[in-house]
Symmetry: C2
Subunit: 454 residues, 2 copies
Amino acid sequence: MLTTELSEAEVSGLRANKERLQDWIHHSCQWGSGVRWGDQPTETGMARLALSQEDKQVRDWFVETTKSLGCHVTVDSMGNIFAVRPGRRADVPATFIGSHLDTQPTGGRYDGILGVCAGIEMLKVLEERGIETEGGVGVVNWTNEEGARFPKSMISAGVWAESIPLETAHSLLEVPTVASLPSAASAPESMKSALEKINYLGTIPCSYKSSPMAAHFELHIEQGPHLVTAGQHVGVVTGVQAYRWYRINVTGRDCHTGSTAFQHRADAMYASARMMVRAREVADKHSCLASVGIVEVKPGSVNTVPGFVSFSFDIRGPEIEDVNVVDTELRKEFDAIAAEEGKGIAKPCRVEWQLDFETPATKFDPGCIDCVTASAKALVADRPDPESLYRTIRSGAGHDSVFTNKRVPTSMVFVPCKDGVSHHPEEFSSAEDCVNGASVILQAVVRFDRKRFQ
Amino acid sequence: MLTTELSEAEVSGLRANKERLQDWIHHSCQWGSGVRWGDQPTETGMARLALSQEDKQVRDWFVETTKSLGCHVTVDSMGNIFAVRPGRRADVPATFIGSHLDTQPTGGRYDGILGVCAGIEMLKVLEERGIETEGGVGVVNWTNEEGARFPKSMISAGVWAESIPLETAHSLLEVPTVASLPSAASAPESMKSALEKINYLGTIPCSYKSSPMAAHFELHIEQGPHLVTAGQHVGVVTGVQAYRWYRINVTGRDCHTGSTAFQHRADAMYASARMMVRAREVADKHSCLASVGIVEVKPGSVNTVPGFVSFSFDIRGPEIEDVNVVDTELRKEFDAIAAEEGKGIAKPCRVEWQLDFETPATKFDPGCIDCVTASAKALVADRPDPESLYRTIRSGAGHDSVFTNKRVPTSMVFVPCKDGVSHHPEEFSSAEDCVNGASVILQAVVRFDRKRFQ
């Protein structure tokens, strides 16, 4: 049956299969299982860094599985994998569900993975129900969304959107401090070389022109506490907050810890510690977030006061203007802290800011948001007080959808996760919450497909 | 001529050779030259980590040079090298000048190196002047004094003094963060294996019983600003301040930087930064020092709030009681900071202290101090206002002499260094200051030898 031939009630009745979705998730998590936190077989975190051997294994499974569900699979020059189930019309781009299979070094089983598995589950439901779509439908696995191994998050969706040059992405080197890749310290690998090594450097240009989409939908755990605290089942995501990533370098002077009085020091670590403390206070004042995730200290000896510290710095806020306010205020504050440390020897610390990445606030497509809203309503329609069970929400984290939104209609679905915790081995979303999200996104794709050809 | 046959005036007239001492220093610095800071050939720092290939090369030179000056050379099971020039009496232990040839990763040309080279210069002066000592005299090069590569400073003098078990030292692993040894991250090497690799695992047990000494004298740059600021030539070192080295581990919870409000975080880096800031304030209040040299942050990803931070912590004070006061106060403060961070999610950070090393305040031997004092007086006797040109001083830094002092009479000589800076490539002591120190220690050894057999 064609999607356009379904009744509204039939669309609203479409559901993903709860047990099967769990199977897709946990089967795929056999590659790159991380820290164990419980007794059950699935109670471990994930450590599947982008383009690692484990990532290759799960990619191979993704290709094989989507092919077995009738998809045509292509790989582009960033290793993005597009699996398309043809529709009735061959001349139009497919509607995609997309997310990522890479994880943080101490990540969990849901961030990204749930989104890709919901895409596979959509393919399975359509097959099972004998539904043919008007345009094709597809699932995309984006490369290195996390930015954990190669330090630009969502980089491959960014290249696809032609927002990031291919050359920049190909030459990006892995972070040497990622614990699970110890060899990175001696010879950090480039993305291109890593793609080649696992045989996922595709021949198709990475671009929305070569791999076009009608729309991009993404299901994701909230990674925050709002839904779970309010007992809500679904978040209809209207956009993503703005953020900037920096590298902050603080230069002082090495000296001996035992024989150098405080007033004779230009201690880059002490100055950095003061900056980190102040950063939270200033960000909080402006309802923004500021976070330090990576810290490198040189020379790195117990009895030498560090002369150099470099740290990553992540500022987020509702709009890019809010981020700018924090940026401006902290530049002054950091300068003042640096000037103070080392003034006793007339060699004050110096601080420099290097902007690595920025994205303004993202507003998702109203048409896609409508499809998600209608599907969320349909999901909870027969429950008591249905309107209280879903809400609109803005994402704190960036997602591949931020980049797809630059080129094609995009929106997202959030489901609750335990304690709002993510990027942690104990990240968890119940089977019920997972399948709720998968049912919503399945319906959203069908609704979008119907709307395109009305 | 025998030392006991010299007149007091002849002893007071003994001088090291300024140019030759410079030659010993800079010749030895060809192995492991570090960061260049000036145009002159000798204007570089040093990066000669203990038991590296560069350390092997300078050791080979040390052995060859002392042998050519008539010494019998032995190597013990910690790679300490003892070069002894026999005296008239074969049945008594030799009087030693000792220090170390290893450096910090961003160290200079004087810390340790000046002391060993002053020992070689002593051998040369005695040969040149045809002086025979009553007991033997020797030069010792101690292994891994810096504690930069293997994170226990003065460890090999410690084993010699039987204060540190050989097994502990042999199994000590190198620090993976030392920049100049990138391979250390993947497979950190043990001291024993490193000793074997450069062929300096000697067969003689490392002990004051197997390699006995009559006394140990050490010449060192001050590594602080007191002498240089006061325009004084020589410091007669009466002892060393107390210190403790810790590893502080702060455990919070990994979470996403974009979607986790501050009140939902247990940010181990933020808590650590607050501790580092507070540590200086508390130490300063008690006239102590507190320093952080090594910082490790996990998982080390731009967009994950760190759930674990481990940092080295060095507290120093005039007496161990002062260090204890700071320790006690900071344990309370750190606990309070940890309890604050994460209380919003009822998962406060935890902090644990691991004591890696401690040494109480050291008081050097009055007899040795007398020998140094008399020699310093003799050096400046013919200058205007001679009493203003030397002083007694306490060392802020630890030295091998801290351990030799536990078993044999010991004292030290300090000379000024530029700006009081050490553990930095630009560490510098003028040729005049170097030779002043070498002349004082030469005389001190001769005076000690005469006193022994009076």
